[in-house]
């Protein structure tokens, strides 16, 4: 039963053809069987999961079930889970038991889902390969010598290998969409403010957004409906009403205007990726959509702007880790400065330290205007480019990544080359727009992802486009050979 989608499992549970306990047992067995090879989990919680599954079966038996009741989910280890270890894949939080649930976790619990465990990721979500984890790298189920993408690599890997039907992730510069693309699954980054950030460990507060990773757009719609909504505990949470995302999935896309930015099809894009996107666009045209060329001329600046803003915000957010109230503390500090400096120096990994230092530098006296202020000004230009383009078209389609999954270790010692792999995803975060990545083909056995970007709070529209594409293709149904 591991190969079924969330929607299919939900149907089988409601009809009492399977029980949540059976389903959870199956997923846990597979997770334990395959985690040694994939390293996609930091923690598994078999006993609490089975207890919740038994409760879910009672609810279903009593006719009180919703679409997620009894469905196993895994949470990226960046979401606080009350009473359970929440490490953010860092030595700094290796001993951290969260005292409360993140709103996303709370909402998914209230919806009846069953948490199986917490997934591996880049440390503090800083990375594009899930290699910077304190717990070692995650592997790609399509080729274990390659990265799954990051930072939500463990979540994408778990869904791809069919260890869980759905996962949560977070996306600051592409961390849901890029691993979804490299693992051949569906990943949705909602509009900034759509999903509460309360209890989601902060990396860059003006960019971070939680969202689902699933097999299909339909499943993403079911997850997003449960995860979204205003939260008074998050001051940047949006009051906009939550749409009925599943109600519009089957709408025809006849007349849909798709914007195609030439800047996203530059020389660095690998030919098989271009071909897969072109083929997908042809199918959408056959379904009645029209393609309109648009311009996003400052796209290439999105990487520099992102690495200034994200690093600046991270240096501020991560100043809370001081070895005093929670988290890692160095041995035998000789004075207060030694306590701060060594706890942080020993508790953070290399990439986190690099970003804190860049952030500290760009915010330091004398450099603020040249870097941080400048980046915020270009951020407005990038945002306005998207806003203008979205006046002409309904959605924008681009590749999610310039290439398929790269080999483990290939970019980990060269931060700039790693950063450049985010070229197609970061500007969406800077603009705060929603975007979904869906599988649209393979090259040499490795999945290719396509990104559909929507207007603010236009999640229903991009889910509709993705679902319509998935009705006429089967890329999203492919399962890596070793995990069938």
């Amino acid at each position: 039963m591991h190969e079924f989608t969330l929607a299919e499992l939900s149907h089988l549970l409601q009809k009492r053809e399977i029980s949540s306990v059976e389903l959870v047992e199956t997923c846990l067995e597979r997770a334990e069987q395959f985690n040694d090879g994939l390293n996609c989990f930091i923690s598994l919680f078999p006993e609490p999961a089975l207890e919740r599954a038994r409760h879910a079966d009672e609810l279903i038996g009593g006719g009180k079930a919703g679409p997620l009741t009894g469905i196993p989910v895994v949470h990226k280890d960046i979401f606080c889970t009350g009473g359970f270890k929440t490490s953010c894949a860092s030595k700094m939080l290796d001993n951290f038991i969260a005292p409360y649930d993140a709103t996303v976790v709370d909402k998914l619990n209230m919806a009846g889902s069953v948490m199986l465990g917490k997934t591996n990721m880049d440390e503090f979500a800083m990375g594009s390969s899930s290699e910077t984890s304190f717990y070692g790298p995650v592997r790609n189920p399509w080729d274990a010598s390659r990265v799954p993408g990051g930072s939500s690599g463990g979540s994408a890997c778990a869904v791809s290998a069919r260890l869980a039907p759905a996962a949560t992730g977070t996306d600051t510069g592409g961390s849901i969409r890029q691993p979804a693309a490299l693992c051949g699954v569906t990943g949705l980054k909602p509009t900034y403010g759509r999903v509460s950030r309360y209890g989601m460990i902060a990396f860059a507060s003006s960019l971070d957004q939680g969202g689902p990773i699933t097999q299909t757009a339909e499943d993403a719609a079911l997850m997003l409906a449960a995860m979204s909504g205003f939260d008074e505990n998050d001051a940047t949470s949006a009051e906009a009403g939550v749409d009925n995302y599943t109600a519009t999935l089957n709408k025809e896309i006849k007349g849909l205007k798709i914007g195609l930015p030439a800047e996203y099809f530059s020389e660095q894009l690998e030919r098989p990726v271009t071909d897969a996107i072109t083929a997908a666009l042809n199918l959408l045209e056959e379904a009645g959509a029209s393609i309109i060329e648009i311009e996003l001329p400052n796209t290439e600046l999105s990487i520099p702007v992102y690495y200034v803003i994200a690093s600046a915000e991270c240096s501020s957010n991560l100043s809370r880790y001081d070895g005093v109230r929670f988290g890692y503390r160095c041995d035998n500090p000789k004075d207060i400065d030694d306590l701060f400096c060594r706890s942080r120096g020993e508790g953070f990994g290399d990439e986190v330290k690099r970003r804190i230092m860049i952030g500290t530098y760009v915010l330091s006296a004398g450099y603020y205007d040249a870097y941080y202020l400048k980046a915020q000004q270009i951020r407005r230009m990038l945002r306005d480019e998207f806003s203008n383009a979205l006046k002409q078209v309904d959605v924008i389609i681009t590749p999610t990544t310039p290439s398929t999954a790269f080999p483990l270790g290939a970019r980990v010692d060269d931060p700039v080359s790693m950063y450049l792999s985010d070229i197609y995803t970061v500007s969406v975060n800077l603009a705060g727009l929603p975007a979904i990545s869906i599988p649209v083909g393979f090259n040499d056995g490795l999945p290719i992802g396509m990104q559909v970007i929507g207007d603010y709070f236009g999640e229903a529209r991009i889910l509709n486009v993705a679902h319509q594409y998935q009705q006429i293709t089967d890329w999203h149904k492919r399962v890596p050979r070793d995990y069938q």
Partner: protein, 95 residues
């Protein structure tokens, strides 16, 4: 701009990060490379453009100034590295 040993040490101190001597050369190179990437912004004329701090430009949500949570000090201190009598313990820094 390129980072040298002194600038790396200065920034590490501002960020309260202890870094060992062997890794300084690596930081010099990495931070210099990252800054070179960032400096691509300089070619853009941003005169008269207002900075954008938040993608939606919505008003920050404020709650009524009322106590909504109970004191959970004991719970929070369960995960503290060192406490005594309800206080967090740190090395002495005031004479």
């Amino acid at each position: 701009m390129s980072f040298n040993k002194t600038t790396v040490q200065d920034i590490a101190w501002l960020a309260r990060l202890a870094i060992d001597d062997q890794s300084i050369a690596g930081y010099e190179k990495d931070l210099t490379d990252i800054l070179a990437l960032v400096e691509r912004m300089k070619k853009v004329n941003t005169a008269d453009i207002q900075p954008l701090a938040h993608p939606l430009e919505i008003d920050t949500q404020l709650r009524p100034d009322a106590v909504t949570e109970e004191n959970q000090r004991d719970d929070f201190q369960k995960i503290a590295p060192a406490i005594t009598d309800g206080h967090y313990l740190v090395p002495k820094f005031v004479e």
